[in-house]
């Protein structure tokens, strides 16, 4: 077989220099790609262009990735032969209504250097595969953004979803604005706006979103800050009679290595908020113990500050009842669902406490005795084991949760606390015992606390994953790559629900340890 030079096929223009412009739009079903396409057709026709659009409707509209395709050409009296679908290396303008869809466009070869203007909204709509991971399964946006820059001739990328929401509109309007602002099509701004006005539905909001995106694309306005993390603003409230105790705790923070002070401060607030001042002291004891064994850059102390706080603030019914009955929480819910002053909000909480959780919330001896009783368990599952809907906007419902949260000062005497403290002590001692030989491994052991989360079965599954990851510890101690492997085991444990990835990773560890 003979090898030929690659055929680089480029569209050639018509006799009067008129050329076909190709435009593809990738969207997630339900984002209004159809509306956008109709607008583009309308603006092209209004400017004396022939235009044709196609799409693949059908089941694709149900939240799946969809492609819309438009071709247009200046009308010189003859009808051009338009293609019906985008072709690799032959797209002039690529509109992506979500960041990963922009990535998909690049992956499919629709974004070509020296040719394609890529107009992409950088917000994320997580795919199902990203959401179902027990840990963090979200795709790496950075790689996609880097590839966009390499693949496209011109990139117009910012968060058009946020802009649209800000304007009270939907993303099709801001995408249309970005298209206009990019200058990729030879049409004046007012012809786009005329199309929106003619559509007759939500015109003002659409025009606002269009305008914002247009200006951002043009560079005359700064695009919104990248959709990122806006930590909730929490306020610390210390009643007068606790002030001295709290100040004493805060003073102890200064004795910690600078690298760990911030996180330990957050941990301390969390722990005291969870229980009381004495609990904060217990927490600081743990962090200080780690700090004494640690050296710069004090990764062990930081891990201790983070995970000891999480370990001490275990998720029990008391905590849930406490969090659900706070004033700040009520306000947060009202803000989130946008309740206006003249509206009334009803609020229902979904609970389903199981026998284990119920008995663990009893005084230790009573709880332990009941947990051993088959009859008690049978009684519970027959009469009490069911989902409960509690209305926290009513006095009865709120009062019930309030009463449960009022048990907080007694938490130390409850069965659950006894079990949790034993577990925490064993885990922390383990890490401290390793620290003198291998600081990194000890920090990883502390970080394994991340595996324990959830309630009921989820909590049990987390515990079992924690145990399995920790079971590799004897094999990893003394190895130079021990910490690295411990981290890999934990990552594997967070990759899927059943722990299949963890099984594989454990086998690998066993093979080299044997």
């Amino acid at each position: 077989m003979t090898l030929h030079a690659p055929v680089i096929a480029r569209r050639s223009p018509g006799p009067q220099g008129e050329r076909i412009i190709t435009l593809a739009a990738l969207a997630v079903g339900g984002q209004g790609g159809g509306v956008l396409t109709n607008w583009i057709i309308a603006v092209a026709e209004a400017n004396g262009y022939h235009a044709q659009s196609t799409s693949v409707a059908g089941v694709a509209q149900r939240t799946g990735a969809t492609v819309y395709y438009v071709e247009m050409c200046k009308d010189t009296g003859r009808t051009p032969v338009f293609a019906l679908s985008p072709s690799e290396g032959d797209v002039d303008i690529m509109i992506a209504a979500e960041l990963m869809e922009a990535g998909r466009a690049v992956m499919r070869g629709f974004v070509t250097p020296g040719r394609t203007t890529l107009i992409a909204s950088t917000h994320r709509i997580a795919a199902v595969s990203e959401k179902i991971v027990p840990g963090d399964g979200r795709a790496d946006a950075g790689q996609v953004i880097a590839a966009m820059g390499l693949a496209a001739d011109q990139v117009v990328a910012f968060d058009m979803e946020t802009l649209a929401t800000k304007a009270g509109s939907v993303i099709s309007a801001s995408l249309f604005g970005a298209l206009a602002g990019s200058g990729a099509l030879p049409f004046p701004r007012d012809s786009y706006e005329a199309v929106i006005r003619k559509s007759g539905k939500g015109v003002e909001a659409s025009l606002r979103a269009f305008g914002l995106a247009h200006d951002c694309a043009k560079g005359t306005m700064a695009p919104p800050a990248p959709q990122g993390v806006t930590p909730r603003i929490r306020t610390l409230n210390v009643p007068a009679r606790l002030r001295a105790g709290w100040q004493a705790l805060e003073a102890r923070l200064d004795g910690l290595p600078a690298e760990a002070r911030h996180i330990a401060g957050l941990g301390l607030k969390k722990v005291v908020d969870y229980q009381d001042i004495a609990y904060g002291a217990q927490y600081l004891d743990m962090v200080e113990r780690a700090a004494r064994l640690d050296a710069a850059p004090f990764a062990l102390t930081q891990a201790a500050a983070k995970y000891a706080a999480n370990a001490l603030c275990y998720d029990d019914i008391l905590r849930v009842a406490d969090l659900k009955t706070r004033a700040s929480r009520h306000q947060r819910v009202r803000d989130e669902v946008r309740v206006k002053d003249d509206q009334v909000m009803r609020l229902t909480e979904y609970f389903h406490p199981q026998f284990e959780e119920f008995t663990a919330t009893l005084p230790a001896r009573l709880g332990a005795w009941l947990q051993r009783s088959r009859r008690a368990e049978a009684f519970y599952s027959r009469h009490l084991d069911k989902g409960r809907r509690i209305r926290t906007d009513s006095l009865a419902g709120f009062g019930m949760l309030w009463a449960v949260s009022a048990l907080r000062p007694r938490r130390r005497s409850l069965l659950r606390h006894r079990g949790e403290m034993a577990h925490v002590a064993a885990w922390f001692d383990h890490a401290m015992a390793i620290a003198p030989q291998d600081l990194a491994l000890a920090a990883e052991v502390l970080a394994n606390r991340r595996l324990i989360k959830g309630y009921s079965d989820t909590h049990a599954r987390g515990l079992s994953k924690f145990d399995r990851v920790m079971s590799a510890l004897p094999m990893l101690r003394g190895r130079p790559d021990g910490a690295d492997w411990m981290r890999r085991l934990r990552t594997a444990a967070l990759a899927d629900e059943k722990g299949q990835a963890l099984d594989g990773a454990l086998k690998t560890v066993e093979s080299f340890a044997a």
Binding site: H4, I8, A9, R11, G14, A51, T54, S55, V56, A57, G58, V59, A60, G64, T79, P80, V81, S87, E88, G89, D90, M100, G103, R115, I125, A127, S129, E130, K131, I132, V133, P134, D136, Q143, A147, L150, T230, R232, R234, T235, P239, I263, D273, K306, R326, R329, V337, V339, D342, V344, M345, R346, Y350, F398, R450, K453, G454, D457, L494, E497
Partner: protein, 715 residues
Amino acid sequence: MAERSFKKEVEQLRMGAGGTFRGEGILAVTKALLENGVGYVGGYQGSPISHLMDVFSDAQDLLAEYGVHFENSASEATAAAMLAASVNYPIRGAVAFKSTVGTNVASDALANLASGGVTGGALVILGEDYGEGSSIMQERSHAFAMKSQMWLLDPRPNLPSIVAAVGHGFRLSEASNTPVMMQMRIKSCHVHGHFTAADNRRPAMTVSDALQNPKRDLSRIVLPPAVFLHENEKVDRRWPNAVDYVLENNVNEHFGNPASKIGLIVQGGTYNGVIRALNRLGLSDIYGETDIHILCLNAVYPLCDSQILDFCDGKDAVLLVEEGQPNFIEQAVGHMLYQNGRTTVLAGKGALPMAGEYTGKRLVESIAAFLREHAPSLLPPATAKTNEPAQSDIPDLSTVVPARPPGFCTGCPERPIFAATKLVQQQLGEHHIASDIGCHLFSIMPPFDIGSTTMGYGLGPASASALQNRDKAGKRSISFVGDGGFWHNGLTSSIGNASFNKHDGLIVIVDNHYAAATGGQDILSSRAQNKSRKTNNPIAKAVEGMGVTWVRQIDRTYDVTTMRDTMIEALTSPEEGPKVIVASSECMLNRQRREKPALAKAAKEGKRTVRPRFGVDEDICTGDHACMRLSGCPSLSVKDTGDPLRDDPVAAIDQTCVGCGNCGEVADAAVLCPSFWQAEIVSNPTPAEKRRASRTARIIGWLQGRRDARRLTFA
């Protein structure tokens, strides 16, 4: 009520001669039918011609004005059988369905229709679901045309050509007494364009006229000895007549320079792609002007031997662009050339890929390779050069970008059914699960991963029929069928079969009140009031009528606990025969379309309205995402907390939530976690309600303040 309304667009159908008609391909077809004096239309929805059925439906009144009968056929078989009205009467009839699944269902009727032949023009409009975006097995309609001897049109994908093809279809059918199929590819169904309209015509004879003056002809009935005559008629009379019509009316088109030594024979549907490829190779301008000779087959069956031989005459090589496999046209053309002793080289599959859609890239590469081999002087040297950087500089994103298959909509009532099924399997172990066609087939995707096979519309339970456990206490099969599939075919093929054969399996009928996957059309069991159709016929009653004794009707599928417990009861019940659960809740897309405007209007008018929404307490959520493994709702997603103490993103519900309740029900049934809450926002509350709310808020506020005074808080 269908998902998309064409009420506005169908007004264009009244347009008279000379007007410029703008719209989608399917709308153009409807206009063409009216211009050609069609007497009756029917069909069954399915992508990509669902909208065609919706257009017909929305144009019902207009069709009636012209004396045109329209009905929503129960299945494609019904639609094809409907064309029997054109056997004895000179009435033009048209039916539409998706191919090849619809053609498969219809093939019994189509074969009988093709055997006896027709008097009035009979047109089958096929929405060809092949290539990207397809939801079915990849097969060709061409085989049906060949086996039953019906003619197949594959017009160029632009509105004027499609409209012309409808007229040719009727006249060709009448000239050759043969039903004609016209295929429209996915994208030509949805192509937006324009054409010059002609006047609409009333049918010369209406179906009412026919009923008043019945006619019969024994020789048209498919029974011996007439059937032996039919076969001869097909080859002696109908085929030559069809070829004559195609040639005399220039159904197939020539483009380019006849003197060219190189030729392309293309299916009409691939013409635009081929021209684009030639343009990109510098061999055609944007209007299709080219030096290469092209024969464009708008009629791909029958082929006209003389036309093809003439075209090949004097050519060194001809490339046949035939999408799909097997390569029926190429085989026929090769046979013609050989039989007639021609030496023209025929290239087809081989130069072009054997299988798969002929995308722009594939056409460019294949045509370039063909020309290099057979006409190297044609390819200008410039095409081999470029200053574009190599594509390899761009990183491979295939491991980064997540797949995004279609899934259940926000608030879909089918999601809880599959969450319950997942919980049943957690409790009773994995089961054999047979799936069906419809939205519910999304259960095969994550997060549900449920289902082993799908054998056809309404055939879910039928496809589990062999799997009957001899051990009565052993595991039973679970099968699903939707309400659409149930009425299409499932009632007899699945339910009747299971009842008759005493199959022990569990059959879940997913009833969302519409044929939802195809766009929300009404069916027999729809709860909507439809002025032209009889709805509100309960599925459970029909199931009982088939002899099933274990039937449970669940009227709120969101109740995951009941759903799960009923399934467990079915799988463990000692009763013989099929256990049928009719799981009914309205399609959320349709429901929202109806309720949202009504709610907004009521709120505006000052009436008391309640809007539900769900949410998650991020402090209580631990970021395990078990809820998402049981839900997959688009409005339930992950977000960062921004809290340095936390590693994993937490669950969050966005503003698109419709408050269906699935989140809370799943958290309850699966005993997940207490982080879900449901808010109900009451607009225009009653004065008593307002007083109560503010009194409660005061007391709660006092309690909260009292507690906060005694402890340190950071919230």
